[in-house]
């Protein structure tokens, strides 16, 4: 019997017939699985690699990043506005917007009970900001402290800010007034000039279109005038004696943003703000390196904190959020664990508060002194505040540097304007060093290379 080939073309009627329907569904499922698989592999760039919630780090890289400029120095009669902004680092289903909710907990005094305070939601040119106005002290004169409890319902994320403890602004009733004049322009001495390059007496530069021009990011000066320059492009620290005759180079795996300190014994400490990947999370953890005077790398320690930004004169790390020192090393110079670092935090004694372009505050809590500087001429962000033998020195960065020395009574000893040469970019907290005479050293750069300037302190000027 001559058979007629079965019609294998597809029609709706055909599909609904038994065997074709079975084949259709079977191949539909195969196609569906193949599609999911290929998206996972090829499109996994975005679909699969978004960090899972357990890949965040509570101390250094929380799932919700909180933008907040925590007040540092307040007056007792002050009411302060606390503002919080949010950015979610985790994935939500398409079209779902991450809108974290938050509760602010406020207490006054060390023994005060934390109580919730209502946050007001506003949109500033589309930016969502939660804020509350709180008094610096309560009726008993007890100082403010606070933390934030943050929740995101769709993901189930809940976190605390800061991760441990509370933010405790320093609240003072009296600030010594420091009234600045116009300042005097000065041409500083150049104590070190190094050309761009990778030789022993050169400094690396990384310069390309569409990127910042990166070179030595920070430096420091030892009490005797020895200089330590963080030459990140060449992954080293260059140590130069006060006469700029001998150059020593110590290899350090720094990567472009950091800070450096050198002490009286010649020990160098480097804070690497780019950091290394942690073993158990996808966060990069900032690193602290110490190098002995013999040039040998002594210690490498992770720094478990949210916003490290500079080293103190004693080479401990300061976190921006609560102006706390994070002790990454123990007294023997060995790395502390994450838990030990959490428990070791102390409020840094030298505090700064930028208020506006004409007014700033400083405090030296070791000596129980606080100052409010006012200037008719613009002052800029605060690059440095430190003690000298005769009082204090503050440096402000603007189109010029402004360097101000004043004593404990608030008398201005000298106030000078120094050119701010910045062919390359810097860590703005790493451009100032002070030697034992109170002379200020400033880091700058030109198209030819790095320059370090020295501005003599008031005692040297008077003599």
């Amino acid at each position: 019997m001559l058979g007629i080939p079965p019609d294998r073309s597809v029609t709706l009627a055909g599909i609904v017939r038994g065997r074709q329907l079975y084949r259709f569904v079977r191949w539909l499922l195969i196609g569906f699985v193949l599609a999911i698989g290929s998206v996972s592999v090829l499109g996994g760039v975005s679909a699969q690699s978004t960090p899972a919630l357990n890949e965040f780090d509570p101390d250094t890289f929380p799932a919700i990043d909180i933008g907040h400029a925590a007040p540092v120095l307040l007056r007792t009669d002050q009411t302060v506005s606390l503002e919080f902004m949010f950015a979610c680092g985790f994935a939500l289903p398409m079209d779902a917007e991450c809108v974290p909710q938050a509760t602010l907990f406020v207490a006054h005094g060390a023994k005060g009970q934390f109580a919730p305070v209502k946050l007001t939601e506003e949109y500033r040119d589309s930016l969502r900001v939660l804020s509350a106005r709180v008094r610096a002290v309560d009726n008993r004169g007890q100082a403010l402290q606070y933390y934030l409890d943050v929740r995101e319902e769709a993901s189930g994320v809940r976190q605390r800010y800061p991760s441990t403890g509370a933010i405790e602004p320093t609240v003072l009733s009296e600030y010594t007034n420091v009234q600045l004049g116009a300042g005097k322009e000065t041409s500083p001495e150049i104590v070190l000039r190094l050309p761009w390059g990778n030789g022993p007496k050169a400094v690396g530069i990384d310069q390309h279109p569409e990127q910042a021009t990166v070179s030595a990011d920070a430096f420091d000066v030892a009490p005797d005038g020895t200089l330590a320059l963080l030459d990140e492009v060449n992954a080293r620290v260059v140590v130069v004696d006060p006469e700029a005759k001998t150059f020593r180079s110590h290899a350090i795996p720094v990567q472009g943003v950091g800070d450096v300190r050198i002490d009286a014994r010649g020990q160098v400490t480097v804070l690497d703000l780019v950091g290394k990947r942690a073993e158990n999370s996808k966060a990069r953890i900032p690193q602290l390196y110490t190098v002995g005077a013999d040039g040998k790398l002594k210690t490498t320690a992770p720094v478990y904190t949210l916003r490290p930004y500079r080293l103190t004169d004693d080479a401990t790390v300061i976190d921006m959020v609560a102006q706390q020192e994070v002790l990454a090393l123990d007294t023997a110079g060995q790395p502390r664990s994450r838990e030990e670092q959490r428990g070791s935090r102390i409020r840094t004694p030298l505090l700064v508060q930028f208020l506006d372009e004409h007014q700033v505050r400083f405090a030296d809590m070791r000596h129980r002194l606080a100052f409010e500087l006012r200037s008719g001429r613009t002052i800029g962000p605060i690059s440095h505040f430190g003690r000298t033998a005769n009082g204090y020195v503050a440096v402000f960065e603007r189109q010029n540097f402004r360097v101000v020395w004043f004593d404990a009574r608030g008398t201005v000893l000298n106030d000078v304007l120094v050119p701010n040469n910045h062919y390359s970019i810097f860590n703005p907290n790493g451009r100032v060093g002070v030697d034992k005479t109170g002379a200020v050293y400033l880091l700058g750069s030109t198209s030819n290379g790095i320059e370090i300037y020295r501005v003599p302190g008031p005692a040297e000027v008077q003599s």
Partner: protein
């Protein structure tokens, strides 16, 4: 067409559509109706800890540079945005230069799109798609400009651009930026606000 082929085709379409609708960011680039500063911040933070590539435009949010040491030659396909590409994608601008490009477009972080703007063209108002938020022409915003700027505005020079993350209590700004090959993309304190080579710029039409 055989029934197997039709089934496979339908399955593939359903599979792609199904998965594509559950991930963030979307797999495809597409026009969107709205983009605000919060969207931009959520988007930009996926670039933190990623690499940098001159002329580049993609990253994958695994917090690692997948192509470290990749030559800075543009168009090499290496991971990481450059500074202007990072800003362009975070601001969700249309891929058309200037005034014609105003509006919104969403780009998957994994798609290698740089956009039509350089740092210099951002500084020079994007041909009409962004504007000088501080006024005063080419002068720096200055230390008195905190009331002029908000998170996700940017500071741009002739060769670099970074977006404001948080204004800090020492007067400097935290900036989120694609910096260079060594450091990659991250959040660091900068003095661009008072630097005479930088100008403050804002995207037109942040969506309410």
């Amino acid at each position: 067409m055989k029934v197997q082929h039709v089934g496979l085709l339908v399955g593939l379409v359903l599979g792609f559509c199904g998965v594509g609708s559950t991930v963030r960011p979307a797999l495809a680039n597409h026009a969107i109706n709205c983009w605000n500063r919060n969207n931009a911040a959520n988007y930009a933070i996926t670039g933190r800890f990623e690499g940098y590539e001159w002329g580049g435009g993609w990253w994958d949010d695994n917090n690692s540079d997948n192509t470290p040491g990749c030559p800075t030659d543009g168009g090499s396909g290496c991971e990481g945005p450059d500074c202007s590409g990072f800003t362009f994608k975070s601001w969700a601008m249309k891929n058309v230069f200037g005034h014609q490009g105003r509006g919104y477009a969403h780009y998957d972080i994994g798609n290698d799109i740089h956009g039509p703007y350089t740092a210099a063209s951002f500084r020079d108002d994007c041909g009409g798609a962004c504007f000088d938020v501080c006024g005063g022409g080419a002068a720096a915003c200055g230390a008195g400009s905190y009331g002029n700027t908000e998170r996700m505005d940017a500071f741009a020079s002739g060769s670099h651009i970074g977006m404001i993350w948080t204004e800090q209590t020492n007067g400097f700004d935290e900036i989120i930026e694609a910096l260079n090959n060594a450091a990659g993309t991250g959040i660091w304190q900068r003095s661009y606000r008072t630097d005479g080579s930088f100008d403050g710029v804002r995207r037109h039409d942040w969506c309410p």
